[in-house]
């Protein structure tokens, strides 16, 4: 149906009660992945389980999976109370029980004063609360959130993000949260899965993916600044990974390898120390004040792209760092070797 999107290979095990954030560039297949789990598309191959139960062949209404879209998709012909209670129509509940559950969930989300309003009268944040409440009311085993905060202004998004974390903790929900917003992904505190062209590219905590990304794509996606192509070479000290003047130890035998230098772990030292291993001599090309730190760009002989290091303002002032200054960058503690 959509030839341009395809899920190729995503093997993912989400533990009960986890809050998994799925990130990836536009068109990577994140929404399609959620809709496969939801059951509105059928996979050609592969299987989907919820708990011990295989749901691959089940229709969406029997999967026990809730869905919240970015653009809320509230039923415009129903008021908030009936939107919230929609999922209870299909469970043979009596009217009193439905009313009680609706008011419980409305109270939990702070929307109990809106019960008789129609969706077109609500603000974006209110609409998204109703959409979340509507999905929670049937107590799904898994909740899918497709860019739930992307359409909201920053303040509302931040508030709702906090509430989502609390809800997740309070209701012991298993949540899959798709977003393209990196800072949103990091702030949800859960594991993060990176999807690239329909494949699972990386999986880990925010810290792991930022400090030790397994692939070049993951490194670039999570904002790596210094990334250099490297190769395995025999040196006087044995087999080493080499990228220009940078030499690193690693278990990689060969193939595509990159070296990543964390700019906040680079130490600038006096120029005369340049003869030691991984002490790179460079000339300052640019100084950018980023607010809490200063990004220093160095031209290093042997490196195809400039090396960026983050230093304090204090350092810039006391070392009298300026354009054209020659310094030595100690990258020993900043090196990460990755595949790709």
């Amino acid at each position: 149906m959509w030839p341009e999107f395809a899920i190729q290979d995503v093997t993912l095990r989400v533990n009960e009660g986890d809050y998994l954030v799925i990130v990836g560039p536009t068109g990577a297949g994140k929404t399609l992945l959620l809709e496969l789990l939801l059951g509105v598309h059928q996979p050609d191959v592969g299987r989907i389980f919820v708990g011990e139960r295989e749901v691959t062949a089940l229709p969406p209404e029997q999967r026990g999976i809730g869905m919240v879209y970015q653009d809320y998709l509230l039923f415009p012909h129903l008021d908030v109370a009936r939107n919230l209670g929609f999922g209870l129509r299909y469970g043979n509940r009596d009217a009193g029980d439905t009313r009680r559950r609706v008011s419980e969930i409305a109270e939990l989300l702070g929307i109990d004063h809106l019960l008789h309003r129609y969706p077109y009268t609500l603000s974006g944040g209110e609409k998204q609360r109703v959409a979340i409440g509507r999905a929670l009311v049937t107590e799904p085993r898994v909740l899918l959130l497709d860019e739930p905060l992307s359409a909201l202004d920053r303040g509302t998004a931040a508030r709702l993000r906090g509430e989502l974390k609390l809800l997740h903790a309070a209701k012991k929900l298993t949540v899959l949260h798709v977003t393209h917003d990196l800072s949103e992904a990091r702030q949800m505190d859960g594991p993060i899965a990176l999807i690239k062209e329909g494949r699972l590219d990386a999986l880990g905590t925010a810290d792991e993916l930022l400090r030790r990304p397994p692939t070049v794509f993951a490194a670039a996606f999570f904002g790596a600044v210094n990334l250099y192509k490297a190769e395995v070479a025999e040196t006087a000290a044995g087999r080493r990974v080499v990228a220009g003047p940078i030499v690193a130890e690693s278990g990689f035998a060969g193939g595509g390898i990159h070296v990543m230098i964390h700019p906040d772990e680079v130490v600038l030292v006096p120029a005369e120390l340049a003869e030691q291993p991984n002490h790179l001599r460079g000339e300052v090309m640019a100084l950018t004040d980023e607010g809490n730190y200063v990004a220093v760009q160095l031209r290093v002989i042997g490196l195809p792209a400039p090396l960026t290091a983050y230093v304090s303002r204090h350092f810039v002032r006391t070392e009298k760092l300026g354009l054209g200054s020659v310094v030595t960058a100690d990258v020993n503690r900043a090196i990460h070797v990755l595949e790709g």
Binding site: M1, M67, P76, H77, R89, Y90, Y118, R134
Partner: protein, 324 residues
Amino acid sequence: MNAPAGQLAARGEGARQGGVSAVSWLLVFIPFVVVFLLIGRYVIAAAVLAVSILWAVKDRKSKRLPLAPLAVLSVSGGLLIFFIILPILNLLFTTEPSRVVTTALDPAVQSALAITLSAALIATCVSLLFGIPLGYVLAREQFAGKSVVEGIVDMPVVIPHTIAGIALLFIFGRGGILGAPLKAHFNVLLSDSYWGIVLAMLFVGVPFVVNHCRDGFLKVDPRMEHVARSLGASWLQAFFHVTIPLTKRALLSGAIMTWARAISEFGSVAIIAYYPKTINTLLFEWYNFFGYTYTKPLSTLLLLVALAIFVSLRAVATLKRAEY
């Protein structure tokens, strides 16, 4: 001229709206006034015409808009509007109301009217019954040959209706592919019967129903149905509890359009079933035997029926629009 940008923009907006209203005023009122002139209320008509032109000119001048477009628009556009409204208003205003009432009380007219309205209603219901599913499939599914199906649906619009009548006769007529066995085995004859009228009306009404349904369903985000499914609704429940309520208005206006189209159908109906007479067949017969002046009250009566349907259609279109 040195007003701040915001103020300028605001004035531009107001001027544009004012200009449009002046033009629409002229477009609608000039024909009315001309008709008034034609039917004898000279003084009042001339006064209204003068006032409306002056008002429009003054309105444009106060908004500093050029007058030339106004003149061009109201002459060219007004002529077209005039062409449509003149015959209609002439018929309405020059027919004696008492003769319309007498005609409406004529048993032949009443029976023809009842046949027409009821047959058109049945044709509408049948086309809805089959058109809603087809419209839904056309809106939601991509399949090979979809454009062919859409083309076939639109065919009755371009086929001359007399030809449609002939073609239907070859199927449902006395010697037709389906008509002959029906006659032989069940002694049922669809041509020259009430059901022949329904068939002809159905044939010409299908495009209206299917296209209206499809357009209505296209406006409902399929993800709305996905959400309903995830909340426990089967696809049929999602369809009836979400999709149908959201397309209610499109379906209703489609139904009214189809009904109106069916009521006005003459060519194919007269060929497949001259008897029992529909109101159009009756009108045609009177015209043939007694001449056009004789048909005037009946024409006016039919026109009033059509206008009533038209008004109700517009009412449905604006119904509760604010809600969603």
